[in-house]
Symmetry: C2
Subunit: 266 residues, 2 copies
C-alpha cells in the first residue's frame, strides 16, 4: 500500500483526460497534475528543450512526493521518456508505448490507423513502435492539425467538427483499418464523433486510458496501490488559470476545482 499521489503532466490541458481515466479506473488514487500552459505546445521545441522542461516538471512533481508519473503528452513521451527514466528512480509511463501495445492487442486484420498532431505524426513514433513489434502490419498515419483547436474551442459535438473528422479519417477508411490510435490526449473528447464516423466495428484506442491502465497494473504488481476512500486531485499550471478551469470543467465532473499557478523554471 502506498498512499502517495500519482504525478501527471502535459504541455497543456489534454492530459486532463488521464485524470478522467484515473477517476474511473483507479478511483482511490490521488493525483498531482501539472499543465505547462505557458509553454504549450511542445511540438515546436527542440528535443533538448523538451527534456529540460520535463526535468523541471519532474522535479516539481517529486517535491509533491509522487510515487509514479504519467507523461500525458505525446511530444514529451516521444522525446523525453528515456531521459526521465534514466534520471529518476520511480515508474514513469508515457502515452506512446501503452497506446501502441493496446492497438497491437486489438487489431484482427493487422491494419492500424494513427491520428495525431503534426509533430507526433512527423516523429513517426507510433508507427515505428508498431512495426518493430510486427513488421507485417499496415499502418496508416494521418496528421490532424485541426483537432486540438477544435477541442480547445469546446466544439465536441458540432457539425464543423464532424466534417473535419470525415476528411481526416478518409485514408483510414480507404485502407480498411480495424483499429485506430487516438494519438493525442485531447482526442478522447472527440471519441463519440470519431467512433460514429469510423463505424462501430472499429476499435478506438484512447492513449490516456491505455497509459492509466499500465500505471494501474504496475501499482498492483508492486503493492503500491492507495486505499483512500476517494482520490483527490491537485492542479497546477504555468499560465492561463481561467482557461484551465473552464476546460477542465468540460472534461472532469468536478465542481470547485482549484488550480494554482506556479513558475516552473525556478
Amino acid at each position: 500500500m502506498d498512499n502517495r499521489a500519482i504525478g501527471v503532466f502535459d504541455s497543456g490541458l489534454g492530459g486532463l483526460t488521464v485524470i478522467r481515466e484515473m477517476g474511473s479506473l483507479m478511483p482511490r488514487e490521488n493525483a498531482v497534475y501539472f499543465g505547462d500552459t505557458a509553454r504549450v505546445p511542445y511540438g515546436s521545441q527542440s528535443k533538448a528543450t523538451i527534456i529540460e522542461f520535463s526535468h523541471q516538471i519532474m522535479r516539481f512533481l517529486l517535491r509533491h512526493d509522487v510515487k509514479g508519473v504519467i507523461i500525458a503528452c505525446g511530444t514529451a513521451s516521444s522525446n523525453a521518456l528515456e531521459e526521465m527514466r534514466a534520471s529518476y528512480d520511480l515508474p514513469i509511463i508515457g502515452v506512446v508505448e501503452p497506446g501502441a501495445r493496446a492497438a497491437l492487442r486489438a487489431t484482427k486484420n493487422g491494419r492500424i490507423g494513427v491520428l495525431g498532431t503534426a509533430a507526433t505524426i512527423r516523429s513517426g513514433a507510433f508507427e515505428r513502435l508498431l512495426l518493430k513489434e510486427d513488421p507485417s502490419l499496415e499502418v496508416t498515419s494521418q496528421a490532424c492539425p485541426l483537432f486540438v483547436p477544435l477541442v480547445e474551442e469546446g466544439w465536441f459535438s458540432d457539425e464543423v467538427t464532424r466534417e473535419v473528422i470525415r476528411r481526416y479519417i478518409k485514408p483510414l477508411k480507404e485502407n480498411q483499418v480495424d483499429t485506430v490510435i487516438l494519438g493525442c490526449t485531447h482526442y478522447p473528447l472527440l471519441r463519440p464523433l470519431i467512433q460514429k464516423e469510423m463505424g462501430e466495428n472499429v476499435t478506438l484506442i484512447n492513449v490516456s486510458e491505455a497509459a492509466t491502465r499500465e500505471m494501474k497494473e504496475f501499482l498492483g504488481q508492486h503493492d503500491m496501490e492507495a486505499d483512500h476512500a476517494a482520490g483527490t486531485y491537485d492542479f497546477y499550471a504555468s499560465d492561463s488559470i481561467d482557461q484551465f478551469r473552464s476546460f477542465s470543467r468540460q472534461i472532469l465532473d468536478i465542481t470547485n476545482l482549484t488550480v494554482s499557478k506556479v513558475s516552473i523554471e525556478k
Copy 2:
C-alpha cells in the same frame, strides 16, 4: 536608388503574404524571406526568447545585405520590434502599427473589429494602439484559433472554413463594426470568404498589405527604391522545406521556387 533586398521574416509561412503584396506594390524590389518553421509558433515562447530569435534572424538577414526589414509576424512585432529598432540601424516595420493605422484611416463609425491568434488577442496590442490614438473607438476583438490551421490545411474556399468564419465574426457583426483588422499574416488567404460573410460594405485591413505600403512609402521618401526590371526572391526556412514549397505555391504565383534550409542559431 538602392538595389539591396528587403528582408522579411515570420515565425512560419504566413509572412509569404507580404512577399505577395511586394509583388504587386513594389515589383522592382528584391526580397530575402526567412521563415522560422522549426520553431513556429512563437505564441508559446517568452518575450525574452522571441527577442533572442528575432536577433538571430536579423543577423541572418543583415548578412544578406538587406536595406530594411518587415517583421511579418504578429507575435514578433508585438514583442521584439522596439528592441530590434534599438539594435539595428535600418528601417524595421512590424505588422501591428501599420494595421492599426490603416484601420484608423478606414473607419467611419468608429467601430473596429480585430481578428487574431489567441496570443495576439491576449496581448491586446492592436486594441491598445487603436485606443491610444482615439479613446472613443469601440474595439471588438475575437481570437480565431482555428484560422491558422485551416489556412495551413489549404482549405481557403471551403464550407468548413465558411462556417468557422461565421462563428468568429458574430460578435463583430453584432457590434456593427465597419472595419476589420485581419491581424495575422495568414488571414489574407481567408479574405474572400471573410469579406463575403462580413458584407461588402465592411473594410478588411490586410496587415501584410499595410506593412508593405509603409515600407514602400519609407523607401520612396528616402530615395531607397530599387530599379530592377523585376524583383527576385530568396527563401530560407529553418525546417520543413517541403511544406514551405507546397504552401508558397498556393500563395505566390512562382514556379520553380527554391527554398534553402538554414540553421539559424549559428
